[in-house]
């Protein structure tokens, strides 16, 4: 009933830069075209805890997720609100994001977890990104009979979007790298 998959990716950029890029991924206007499924991103809450070196942030992410017509007919909308909670630990250098849908919950539950940590092989220069996504159609929902298909489709979409997300991340990292070397010259 649950489709879960995970991915790993290494950015050849330091953790500081990669996590900066992660914040900018959805909010820099130049990425709008590539990440066209992201309609709005708003920061709802944030908290800095100087004691523990942590930053907590909650963002609302509005996604355009059109399915095939028969799904649209059942679900009745193709906009989905998600909430992304992030904890960044400046001391230990870790960033953890958890995103889950808060609309369409009676049909489907999607949870995406992403972690950015310094890469064990090159902690000062590279960053490892681990991503886990789980998709679950609610057993008693109108979609239950086609759960497998919907989950499959959903998973494919997620993979496509995460490839796009990586491209954007790489681009921002390059840009930040150029910017920082420009400043130090």
């Amino acid at each position: 009933m649950v489709r879960a998959y995970s991915q790993e990716y290494t950015y050849k950029h330091p953790w500081e830069r990669v996590t900066c890029a992660s914040w900018r991924k959805f909010t820099d206007p130049e990425n709008k075209r590539t990440l066209s499924h992201i309609l709005e991103v708003d920061t709802l809450n944030r908290k800095v805890d100087p004691e523990s070196g942590k930053l907590y942030t909650t963002r609302a992410i509005t996604i355009h997720a059109p399915g095939p017509w028969f799904i649209r007919k059942i679900v009745g909308q193709d906009i989905c609100h998600c909430v992304e909670s992030t904890v960044v630990d400046a001391w230990s250098q870790s960033m953890q994001l958890t995103t889950r849908n808060i609309s369409l919950q009676k049909f489907i539950e999607v949870v995406e977890k992403i972690r950015y940590d310094p890469h064990p092989d090159n902690p000062n220069g590279w960053t490892i990104c681990r991503q886990e996504t789980s998709i679950r159609i609610k057993p008693l929902s109108a979609l239950a009979s086609m759960a497998e298909k919907v989950e499959q489709r959903c998973a494919e979409r997620f993979v496509q979007n995460s490839v796009k997300g990586r491209e954007v991340m790489e681009r921002i990292c390059k840009y930040l790298e150029a910017e920082s070397s420009g400043l130090t010259i």
Binding site: R46, V48, Y56, Q77, I79, V87, T98, I102, S134
Partner: protein, 109 residues
Amino acid sequence: MGIKRESKRSASATSPCADLRAVYHNCFNRWYSEKFVKGQLDEEPCVSEWQKYRACLSEHLEDKKLKRFLEEETIVHSSMKAETKCGIVEQYAGSELHSFAPFQSQSAK
């Protein structure tokens, strides 16, 4: 971008805040890269930008569930509490890649 209501697209609900949002996010991004990652986190970042943006959001955010996140200062506190209690931030930021069973806790709430 007319006055016409787009077919129930609550997506555009917060677009009146787009400018304030951009100002805040720019400020935040700068703070993050210049201060936070270097471990300088004694000051609350971008306070006035945040207040203005947040006020706009609370006026325009339509989705009730999202609004709750905005209003509840406790989102953050409860996750911090969860952390001090059991060593992990389970509820909202559950980061445990190995114990990946996020569904029970939510429906129990």
